[in-house]
């Protein structure tokens, strides 16, 4: 019988540092949401790197900007959203400066996206076969018969036992899990180098979630692609990713190899998340503290300051940088080194 451990990825093969060229690099990305009352900063300097062949989990609670991040990477944000600063480098090319036409050659072929609420992203009045065929033909000049063949192959790969029968099905005839499989089939139609999966299991039943995650991991691995998995569920990230990046209020506050993170999470917010998540497993009651006041929109220093149990004076006035506390382990906290060394307990 297979164990969880052998099922999840090992951390030993992780590319750390500059030994491998990054596939995707997000640098200092700022995104505003424009309102009459003035802009709201949603992404506040996101730094993120995805290496070829790895799976990175971006974790955060609702409203921290995870979905905005993946949409900004693909240039899909439209007013009132606006990218105000930063860079998105895909294989060294700056995506933010590219025209819509240039971006189209990358979307789907270089980077593909699967969304949560898959049913909403399928056309309700068009058949599954026609919709996948559209995607197939978006980047390749293929005839009707050839496209159909490819659609059948894709449906088979995402686990439909009888692809032929599904060609003429409409989205409402499929379950949520099957709709997610259709979205995955579309995302993988052109063998992208990077698959970004935004909450792939949100709204799915638990026994179906695992099927979808296993499928996604298998397909990405077979194609030697990278996976950027956005989730609020630390359990999903622990089992399906090699690295973790924690997002809080529009910034990455910690990133580390998955083993390191679950053993030695350092940022006070990461620790709080982890405690809340492990409380579910441990019989004892979680040592959860009150959420405290909600954070105001404009924060000068570290956004976690109002809720942080170990804050010091400068936290409120000065933003800490994302700095290494160990090789491959970055933390955005003035006390990061102290906490990592065990001199400060959170």
């Amino acid at each position: 019988m297979r164990s969880w451990a052998t099922g999840s990825a090992t951390t030993s093969t992780l590319p750390i540092g500059n030994s491998v060229d990054a596939l995707l690099e997000v640098k200092d990305l700022h995104v505003d949401y424009l309102r009459d009352a003035g802009p709201v900063r949603v992404l506040n300097g996101v730094d993120l790197t995805v290496y070829p062949g790895e799976s990175l989990g971006v974790v955060g609670e609702s409203g921290v900007g995870k979905t905005v991040l993946v949409r900004a990477i693909l240039g899909l944000l439209q007013p009132p959203w606006r990218v105000t600063r930063g860079q998105v480098l895909y294989e060294g090319d700056e995506l933010l400066r590219q025209s819509e036409k240039e971006l189209r050659t990358i979307r789907g072929r270089g980077i593909a996206l699967t969304t949560h609420e898959p049913r909403k992203h399928l056309n309700p009045v068009s058949t599954i076969g026609a919709q996948i065929a559209n995607v197939v033909r978006a980047h390749a000049t293929v005839g009707h018969a050839k496209a159909r063949e490819r659609v059948l192959e894709l449906l088979g790969r995402v686990g439909f036992p009888d692809p032929e029968a599904r060609l003429t099905a409409y989205p409402h005839e499929l379950s949520g899990g099957m709709c997610q499989r259709v979205i995955i089939a579309m995302a993988l139609a052109h063998s992208p180098k990077l698959l970004m999966a935004d909450e792939p299991t949100a709204g799915l039943d638990v026994t179906i979630s695992l099927q979808v995650l296993d499928l996604m991991r298998g397909l990405v691995r077979d194609a030697n692609s990278s996976l950027l998995l956005v989730s609020r569920d630390l359990g999903v990230v622990a089992h399906y990713c090699q690295r973790v990046a924690v997002m809080y209020q529009g910034r990455i506050v910690e990133s580390a190899g998955v083993q390191t993170f679950f053993e030695r999470a350092t940022h006070p917010y990461s620790r709080r998340l982890l405690r809340a998540a492990t409380a579910a497993r441990d019989e004892g009651r979680g040592a959860t503290t009150s959420a405290g006041p909600r954070v105001a929109a404009a924060v000068v220093g570290c956004a976690y300051t109002p809720r942080c149990p170990v804050r010091v004076e400068r936290c409120a006035t000065e933003p800490p940088a994302l700095e290494p506390v160990a090789a491959g382990h970055l933390v955005r906290c003035f006390l990061g080194a102290e906490i990592a060394a065990g001199r400060v307990t959170v």
Partner: protein, 335 residues
């Protein structure tokens, strides 16, 4: 055995779809909750768990079966006769924001159930509202706020305060934490446990999330396609689920631990529609361990180990252990 708060006996709820098709949402469900006990009703979509809750609250009328509340048969009552019982059975909703009137201040939202129960003067009610806010960890400052000014967790605290306002005997919690973020979820679960221990409510906690109910409930009933497949004490079910479906549900929980060594147990395929439930044991087309009997008959829910009732032919044949022996159809579950 304590005094029964609630007894559900062979409850059936079918929804007709026309052309002789029916949704068999609940098909012969029996369970009880003692006074001050918390029971979890766990299942995935289509299991009928929410329908059971709605029947108990008399929001819909059961097709068959009997629901006894503190010794009184509430299914035999008219809606009018049932009205005084309503304040003794309360509900906490899944979506905290949607369940609060956006145009009422929190103080008024909490005053309403007291006013309807018309037991005290306005002054007495105000003191009770403040007491309720305090019980759920919110202060007097919340009295004048509107729901949209509260976070999701705070809104759910108001929902809980409203449910316990009239000192009910039973609180039905319908997925009370599934709309909340993890860190807030843990806080709400702690609050629910705390209130139950202090005030002695009985809970019916309806959820798809086994880990959520674990912290709050003493017993669990697991449902699949309209039937209970296993019941037992929470700890024992977590330690050793007997029904293959319970086992699959538990195995689907991804613990935040990358070196988790538990073996996996996955079910094949999709959950069938409750319109078209498979003959025999409803799980048999997805169950890797199905034996011949499973396709023919539905297994009875029987006490196979002390305090543990299981509906599974394989478990029954092997004294509670639903694991295939060497002669069973397949040895290893698929990946």
């Amino acid at each position: 055995m304590g005094e029964r708060a609630l007894e559900v006996d062979r409850l059936v709820k079918f929804f007709p779809l026309g052309r002789r098709r029916t949704v068999k949402a609940v098909n012969g469900v029996s369970f009880h909750i003692d006074r001050g006990e918390a029971l979890a009703l766990v299942g995935e979509s289509g299991s009928g768990k929410t329908t059971v809750g709605r029947c108990i609250l008399r929001l819909i009328e059961p097709t068959e079966g009997r629901i006894t509340f503190l010794g009184d048969d509430v299914t035999a009552m008219t809606q009018e006769q049932f009205r005084p019982w309503r304040r003794r059975i309360q509900l906490v909703f899944q979506e905290p924001y949607d369940s609060l009137n956006p145009r009422m201040r929190i103080g008024r939202i909490l005053d309403e159930p007291l006013m309807l129960a018309d037991r005290s003067t306005p002054g007495g009610r105000r003191a009770r509202v403040l007491e309720l806010l305090d019980m759920v960890g919110l202060g007097a400052a919340f009295l004048t706020l509107y729901p949209h000014q509260l976070s999701g967790g705070e809104q759910q605290r108001v929902g809980i305060a409203r449910a316990i306002a009239t000192n009910p005997d039973l609180v039905v919690l319908d997925e009370p934490t599934s709309a909340l973020d993890v860190s807030v979820r843990a806080e709400i679960l702690d609050l629910l446990t705390d209130l139950q221990q202090r005030l002695g409510f009985a809970y019916l906690f309806i959820s798809h999330d086994l880990t959520a109910v674990r912290r709050v409930c003493q017993r669990v009933a697991i449902m699949y396609l309209g039937k209970i497949v296993e019941t037992g004490p929470t700890d024992e079910i977590f330690a050793r689920p007997l029904h293959p479906y319970s086992r699959a549900l538990l195995s689907s929980v991804l613990y935040p631990d990358p070196v988790d060594q538990r073996s996996r147990f996955l079910l094949a395929g999709e959950i069938p529609s409750p319109i078209d439930v498979p003959a025999g044991c409803h799980l048999h087309p997805r169950c890797p361990w199905a034996i011949d009997d499973c396709a023919r008959d539905y297994p009875p829910l029987e006490e196979l180990l002390p305090g543990r009732r299981v509906a599974c032919f394989l478990a029954r044949r092997q004294n509670g252990i639903a694991e295939p022996r060497a002669d069973a159809r397949s040895g290893v579950p698929h990946e």
